[in-house]
């Protein structure tokens, strides 16, 4: 019986894939198999949740080598008869998706936000045109690769009895060597988990104002984020704080946007917030139409006033 094969380098994302795989398997009467690579701990966890788990244990295989990983996954998909491969749409998963798709002759969709099952097959929902639109798309090849966005599905609960087996794959001589893995400069910040975000846009003119912004965020239990140019052009923040298509796509309870104009690639990262507050000196800014509360004012006045009003 053809089945769904799941793989992520990241254990919590693998658990989310298992949830999605169960929805698909139930709908299409397929089996589910989980794959792990040099991660026995992840294999144990998946098996404990009820997944039939296959372990590749091979010191010559490093997740850093996408070519080798794609080859290993292709062999696994063929051996285990996985015609739908679910990957995580984190950086490793996305990079792997295209290479694996090419090898398997599969159609592939990445950054998929949800999958609808139905009589016409799997409908995948994802952003198109930089997020200006949301598309519903179907992969029409027999083999399908779907990379699911982080947090698209909740982590799997325990269901049924899993199993653990080893799987052998052939690894070819690599043209790529991992020399060093190091901690990332910058901070560990989880924008996607934040309930309140205070977002700095290009309308915040002076870097000194960031201290006040941090105080405001702290006073309301929020986390500071930014639009892409504020990180990549001005270098005020690291890339881990970027909201948008090529940054984080967040769904906080409240987003306070300071000096954001509302370019589509930014807006896609915040438009699913429950409440959006925008402070902007431009009364015609696109973001105002996408906000629940709008304050048209000079941020040079608003930021200190906001801080003072919060009693800080």
């Amino acid at each position: 019986m053809a089945g769904v094969l799941i793989y992520s380098d990241n254990t919590s994302l693998a658990m989310e894939l298992l949830t999605a795989a169960r929805l698909i398997a139930k709908d299409q009467n397929k089996s589910i198999k989980a794959l792990t690579v040099n991660n026995p701990e992840q294999a144990e966890k998946l098996a404990a949740k009820g997944a039939d788990t296959y372990r590749i244990q091979n010191p010559d295989l490093t997740p850093a080598d996408t070519a080798a990983m794609a080859s290993a996954l292709q062999q696994a998909a063929e051996k285990l008869d996985g015609d739908i491969v679910l990957l995580s749409s984190n950086r490793r998963g996305k990079e792997l998706a295209g290479r694996l798709a090419e090898g398997l002759g599969a159609g592939c969709l990445t950054d998929v936000k949800s999958i609808n099952t139905g009589k016409d097959g799997l409908e995948c929902v994802r952003n198109i045109l930089g997020g200006a639109t949301v598309g519903t798309q179907r992969i029409i090849t027999v083999k399908k690769i779907i990379a699911l966005s982080p947090k698209a599905y909740p982590a799997a609960e325990q269901e049924g009895v899993g199993s653990l087996q080893d799987l052998e794959v052939m690894i070819q001589a690599s043209k790529l060597k991992l020399v060093e893995t190091r901690e990332k400069a910058g901070e560990n910040v989880d924008l996607e988990a934040a309930e309140i975000l205070v977002v700095v846009g290009q309308g915040v003119e002076k870097q000194e104002q960031l201290a006040d912004v941090a105080v405001i965020a702290e006073a309301i239990n929020g986390v500071v984020a930014c639009s892409k140019p504020v990180a990549t052009d001005r270098k005020w923040f690291g890339e881990e704080r970027i909201i948008g298509l090529s940054g984080k796509i967040c769904k906080p309870e409240l987003a306070i946007l300071l000096g954001i104009s509302g370019q589509v690639q930014f807006a896609v990262g915040i438009r699913e917030a429950k409440t959006i507050v925008s402070v902007n000196k431009d009364e015609n800014a696109i973001i105002n139409k996408m906000s629940d509360y709008v304050l048209v004012a000079d941020l040079n006045d608003v930021i200190p006033a906001f801080k003072n009003a919060l009693g800080k």
Partner: protein, 246 residues
């Protein structure tokens, strides 16, 4: 050794209007994706250090003839184009096939650069697919590259760590936006761009699709758009949403 940068012609996203939730693309000018411009800049810096030519490969409609000037003005030496109005809205797999074929016509390619994702679809598949077709090693999310003989030392950023890789050339690399800040071309560069060589390839176009788009609509936004007049009102509004101060 030559450097190839693959760039995607995309509609100027800010100029797309939405009518009845449908995107209206008529008269929207084309440009290249922003991250593709970072890839071009990375290519220029490598060329400066290692020599050779920088060739931009692009696949798109006839409008590419004009769009490509942007890349040539920014410093590319040559363009290698596959142009056909049938190539509007092609899938990643088609695009990858054509780019790989075009790269195959170029001598002594050391590195093929992409942006980490296109400006419109941001699917991130084409670089990986091209690497697969050409059987080359690849590295994504790259923030630094140095070339040393037939080796590239590549630093890339994952979500939680950075990796330093050594790859034997040729290699496919897709870069992050924060790898550099693209320089703005001077007037002289813009004027010279029209005279730079452009090779137009006639390749067989097979648009056999793998993906079917069922719908493509702007999300429905129903926001309250309540104007508040000062910070005090703003804070009252936030508190009304159940957010309390620490």
């Amino acid at each position: 050794m030559n450097i190839v940068v693959a760039m995607k012609q995309i509609p100027e996203l800010q100029q797309i209007r939405i009518r009845d939730r449908e995107p209206v693309l008529d008269d929207v000018p084309y440009t290249f994706g922003k991250i593709d411009k970072n890839a071009l800049e990375a290519g220029l810096q490598l060329k400066e250090a290692a020599g050779g030519k920088l060739i931009v490969v692009s696949v798109g409609t006839e409008a590419l003839e004009d769009t490509i000037k942007e890349a040539l003005a920014a410093g590319a030496d040559e363009a290698c184009l596959i142009m056909d109005n049938k190539l509007e809205n092609i899938e990643s797999a088609t695009s990858a096939r054509l780019i790989a074929e075009a790269v195959g016509t170029i001598d002594d390619v050391g590195i093929i650069l992409f942006g980490e994702g296109s400006g419109d679809n941001y699917s991130g598949q084409v670089g990986s697919r091209v690497a697969a077709i050409l059987g080359l090693p690849q590295a994504g999310y790259v923030k630094n590259i140095t070339l040393n003989g037939n080796q590239a030392t590549i630093t890339r950023a994952m979500e939680d760590c950075e990796e330093v890789l050594e790859a034997t050339l040729p290699v496919v690399a897709s870069v992050l936006a924060d790898i550099n800040t693209p320089t703005i071309p001077s007037v002289t560069q813009i004027l010279k761009a029209g005279k730079k060589p452009k090779e137009i390839l006639e390749l067989k176009i097979d648009k056999t699709g793998q993906i079917e788009t069922i719908s493509n609509l702007a999300p429905e936004t129903q926001r309250r758009q309540i104007e508040v007049k000062d910070v005090a009102e703003l804070i009252k509004a936030i508190e009304a949403e159940g957010i309390s101060r620490r």
